[in-house]
């Protein structure tokens, strides 16, 4: 699981049919101090996250598990919205 910040939306009418009910969002991976690490990715939103929100997402084929289908070509899914992060610096 990784921390990220939602930075935008992607609209795609022509997509894998199982994904029609889901938003696709741009996520910028971040660390615990809210600093960007790495390149933005696109993730399926399964929890109703909005731009600007801090979230966590899962990658690889596990990203399909929150979806109501057993198969979908998805390698990143937002699975939670972060309320607070508590870290010993």
């Amino acid at each position: 699981m990784f921390l990220g910040k939602v930075i935008g939306n992607v609209w795609a009418t022509q997509k894998y049919e199982a994904l029609h009910a889901f938003k696709l969002m741009f996520v910028q991976p971040i660390n615990g101090e809210n600093e960007n690490i790495g390149e933005p990715i696109v993730a399926v939103d399964t929890v109703g996250a909005g731009p600007g929100e801090i979230i966590y997402y899962i990658t690889a084929s596990e990203a399909v598990i929150p979806l109501p289908v057993d198969m979908a070509p998805v390698d990143a899914s937002i699975v939670g919205i972060v309320d607070t992060i508590n870290m010993k610096s």
Partner: protein
Amino acid sequence: MFLGRIIGTVWSTKKDENLIGAKFLIVRQLDLKLKEKDNFVIAVDSVGAGEGEIVLVATGSSARQTEFTKNKPVDAVIMAIVDKFDVPLKKYLQEQENLT
């Protein structure tokens, strides 16, 4: 998934027999300003994408999660054709790109 633009097609007759019938497209990765990056992948098309189109590519074992690519040696699949994307947070992208 990553954002990419289809820049070409690969045909190959001599290949793993599981891959017969697959359409291989060359996808160059793009950044949020649609500038082409150095890396690209050969991806199997699952949504009928064509050359020049902006698409999303899923990689790794997730690429096998479609009817066609199930149990096949595929690690990149085109799973969406992007109509439009929007990155409102100014510090990430100045203007909003409209692709239609």
